[in-house]
Symmetry: C2
DNA sequence: TTGCTAAACGGAGACTGTCTCCGGTACTGT
DNA sequence: ACAGTACCGGAGACAGTCTCCGTTTAGCAA
């Protein structure tokens, strides 16, 4: 790639990150282009669709997912507390941009999605977490990580679009956690 | 209201029902107007926003909610089976139009929403159902109907937008149900 | 350094959807 | 039948998406 192209690409991604944060995921792409000081054509050549741009914006974010799993597993407390803690982290991770939870959760399991890699990172993180917790026998037998991603993603989607407070979200995550834990 | 105005209003609602069913909730409103044989102005005078039109479209649908609760409660089986059955019904009810689950669930608890009445009908139905089940002591103590609407609505939203099969949705509803039932 | 060429730029504009304004139409009560 | 007004409907302003194509420029070879 030519140096100027690389520069423009970086500038667009950086600008998009800010614009998406400030105006939500539905922000005008022409605004992103203008803000970045490039023409609309340049933006659309680099990123044919909104999804591909979002994918680039999220790249750095993906790296944080694995860290978060580690920290969540290291926390003290009952399996229930650890699980709810991780769910809370998960919701935060996918709620970084408005509209993010819906996009990510719905693309989950869709092999053709442009943000496939992000979904895979998330689902891998969930798998890793559940496997660790499961080794203690804390979980029900037949828990499918993809299913859990969708359940927690559903809660995050509703919370995101309905602008719910954390205090309302937590009990919902607790219900999901209770549904997954082996009954004592 | 003048007779011609009423005629036009009815025609718009009827047409919108078809158009929304065929093209999803995001269908062009100008298309609805054209299909109904009226000008865009007429449509927007009767229904200032997309939400108000959707509200009118859903009117007949609301009447079915109460019936469904009754039938769900009358079903044979364990509390868990009855609960999952009702959740399945609930998902069907709010998934009648594409985009419906998200709209309805996010408007839940928002007093200012134009589709407030629909949400109230749903939340009342959920309350009635849970109260009946609770009287058998089958549920955990602190179950909030609004919270359950959001949980099940979240599942429905993900299923709707991700076009998930019923066989994938059911286990998710079971997890929610297990989280709500009193542990034995 | 100079000149060439392919790659990249960028903005005008086509297209689509939303929503408003206002001149014209026609329903209803008298 | 008539007047008054409630209502109609489409032209058009506005905003966002995306493409096309003339112009510019980076990178390379001589």
């Amino acid at each position: 790639m030519r140096a100027d192209a690389q520069r423009n690409r970086d500038k667009i991604v950086e600008t998009a990150r800010e614009v998406f944060r400030d105006h939500g995921y539905d922000a005008s792409l022409d605004l992103v282009a203008k803000q970045a000081g490039v023409g609309a054509g340049t933006l659309y050549r680099h990123f044919p669709t909104r999804e591909t741009l979002l994918d680039a914006v999220m790249q750095s974010w993906v790296d944080r997912v694995d860290d978060t799993v580690g920290k969540a597993l290291a926390r003290e407390g009952s399996p229930r507390e650890v699980l709810v803690g991780w769910f809370t982290d998960y919701v935060s991770l996918i709620s970084l941009h408005k509209g993010g939870p819906a996009k990510l959760t719905c693309a989950m399991g869709d092999e053709a999605s442009p943000i496939r890699t992000k979904c895979q990172a998330l689902s891998a993180a969930m798998t890793r977490f559940l496997a660790d917790l499961d080794s203690d026998g804390a979980l029900r037998a037949d828990v499918d990580p993809l299913e859990v991603c969708r359940l927690v993603g559903g809660v995050a989607t509703v919370a995101d679009q309905g602008e719910l407070a954390a205090s309302v979200v937590r009990p919902m995550l607790e219900v999901v956690a209770d549904g997954l834990l082996a009954s004592r």
